[in-house]
Symmetry: C2
Subunit: 468 residues, 2 copies
Amino acid sequence: MTSQHANRPLPDAFLAQMQARFGERFSVASAVREHHGTDESPYPPMLPDAVVQATSIEDVQLVARLCHTHAVPLIPYGAGSSLEGHILAVRGGVSLDLSNMNRVLEVNAADMTVTVEPGVTRKQLNEHIRDTGLFFPIDPGADASLGGMCATRASGTNAVRYGTMRENVRALKVVTADGSVVKTGTHARKSSAGYDLTSLFTGSEGTLGIIVEATVKLYPQPESISAAICNFPDLESAVQSVIEIMQLGLPVGRVEFMDTWAVRATNAYSKMDLVESPLLLFEFHGSAGGVDEQAEAVREVTASNGGMDFQWARLPEERSRLWAARHNAYFAGIQLRPGCRASTTDVCVPVSQLAKCVTETADDLDAASFPYTILGHVGDGNFHVMMLLDPDSSEEWEESERLNQRLVERALSMRGTCTGEHGIGLHKMRFMLAEHGPESLALMHALKHTLDPRGILNPGKMLPPLAS
Amino acid sequence: MTSQHANRPLPDAFLAQMQARFGERFSVASAVREHHGTDESPYPPMLPDAVVQATSIEDVQLVARLCHTHAVPLIPYGAGSSLEGHILAVRGGVSLDLSNMNRVLEVNAADMTVTVEPGVTRKQLNEHIRDTGLFFPIDPGADASLGGMCATRASGTNAVRYGTMRENVRALKVVTADGSVVKTGTHARKSSAGYDLTSLFTGSEGTLGIIVEATVKLYPQPESISAAICNFPDLESAVQSVIEIMQLGLPVGRVEFMDTWAVRATNAYSKMDLVESPLLLFEFHGSAGGVDEQAEAVREVTASNGGMDFQWARLPEERSRLWAARHNAYFAGIQLRPGCRASTTDVCVPVSQLAKCVTETADDLDAASFPYTILGHVGDGNFHVMMLLDPDSSEEWEESERLNQRLVERALSMRGTCTGEHGIGLHKMRFMLAEHGPESLALMHALKHTLDPRGILNPGKMLPPLAS
């Protein structure tokens, strides 16, 4: 893990053209570079050589053309909330900051879609559309940008009901490596016309093109919402309940798992008095009658699996308090070990394998030399381990990497994936071959070469070099 | 429209190797070629030079390698139910019949997935899994093969609730042009690991690879199902009801539109006594209480839009009779003009534009010299016009093509698509440029060239030649 490669300096002609076009929006100041070379991953900063602020599609096209001409690495930057090192400038180059392209371009309430620039964040979007009676459900924890969420195929707590970005992006505008603008998709709910370019760019992590506009689906705000919480004597009984709930086809809005450590951390951080055992946190969306019916069906399933103290939270303030506590679980976890650095895993397995995967992982972690918490979007079979590391201990870092490796191998052996929602970035590249196999990986390389023949787009990410 | 191009004969070495490997499973008999060069499109047959029956992935790999080596066109063939000419051998070559690769390989009830060979048909699949309490919802009318449904991104009446093949394919095995086997996706419900190859192949119409295995999602059979039917004084009021139902977020299982002509044809063909005015046919899936609640909400919406005689069909036999009538609407329509050839359109528009699009289309068609019916999966904004043509009249064919052209232009101007579910095939190629624009079309060509450099896979389909 190096903090910065020795990179080729930016060519003079390139610098001159960028300065002429962008003036003060182009910077080589170290504070600006530091900010854009730092994310929420466990990696140290890796700085770009320069940062440019785009305010229009034409800006992005010009930057792409200049980078393409001069073979300068180009790294799209949204909110900087990546957990896997997506925005780190491993080969230097230019960080293309899209956060000022943050206009909501069109709210189409009748068709329940919205078209945004890439720098719009999910909270900004939901604030903007609040009065329409609609909402955008995808919720990756951080207040990520929509462009970044498209680029990483993000999801979060609501995905169990509303799907991930894969299911919720209807159309894109993308600037490709040569500065062309490609439009994908339509505003219709479905289409069988040609290759699914929308899905090709969704999840491509800035390596195939720069997303400059996205049309995403919205949903009616539920007529009624209620929450419930249920403690369990152990991991298995909690996860077994989830499996049965999914098999009943109940349209649960959210179902989140917290292990005992995560509950303990949350009690301390959020001043809660939750029973400190594994628990499930539910949210139900629907009509008043439908919500009650779902909650009752879930209560029966949890009770038959040893669930204790099933509690409803019907009042908005109770619900908000519970979910705020869940959303603060990351910060709460960090407080279990003040001054620590967190490394977060992100496997996703078939739901039938979830109990086995979580249990074996917890057994592994109980023997580790650092504290941890487990949180999960368990309705999707997706869970995270937060490993709380001494930032000065390379031994702990290496131990955490070994545990992550074992966890990913376990997930892959169960026909799961090395990342449910965080993406590959820098941190998961070494698992791509094991997950996809040599033929699929070769095809991904071929696609990358077709779209970005000079390899300027977010180089050194996602695709490990092909074995020769 | 020519029935057959003058094609290069199959090379002797190719013929010898195919005969040596496949024996009686390789045929150049004209009856076999005739069968495989005919689909449900309005085009006359276009015969392949030979037909081969594959029974294994290795068979498909060998065929691909030989076709690649000898530059022989290779056309995957499933159930032959394409409406747009997908399987016609416009440049001769070999039809690769996958219908004998029809094993259900693995039913995973706990994870609600099934893995099938490409020749399994949707009815066969649902028969196979009947006792699991699960079902596969995608229902394109014809008893299509799962491989073909993946290849065309098919959908049908249930898509409004369960999505299309885009949302329901979890993993694929694909044989590429050089005979490699590419595995895409995992068995997890979501993943952010690398490019979405599953979506790239889903809808690629045999032009990027041959789908030899598919893992698709299943759903719990609803605890309760009911149907309802409602007549309307006119088109607009029916479609306006649909818009409002979608905006309420009601999880309606199906919502189908039939125009007066379609109702009349159905009454005659299926011995029904439906009121002969525009109507909507609904199906509700859920708990007993949920189904009643949905139906009541829908009744209120339809009543407020002038809907008449809202009738429930709670008994299975009533429901079955109604839906059998809907499913036979194609055959019923044809009987409006005995001996006719049907040409079927397939646009999909944003739901907000549906009333305008259907009304303007009906106005166009009222002036046509042939009868027609309109049917629609209106919850998705998708509708079909069946134009009933004299098979011997080139004037009627040309008139129908002009009307289709106008309809597609109308849909595109409303930000819709030239095909909601039938695919491009041969018939819609001329609309690809208008729908996608030159940059997207150039990118699709680049992808095609990357995956199939010799252009052997279903040549002459989907992608129109690039303007030079």
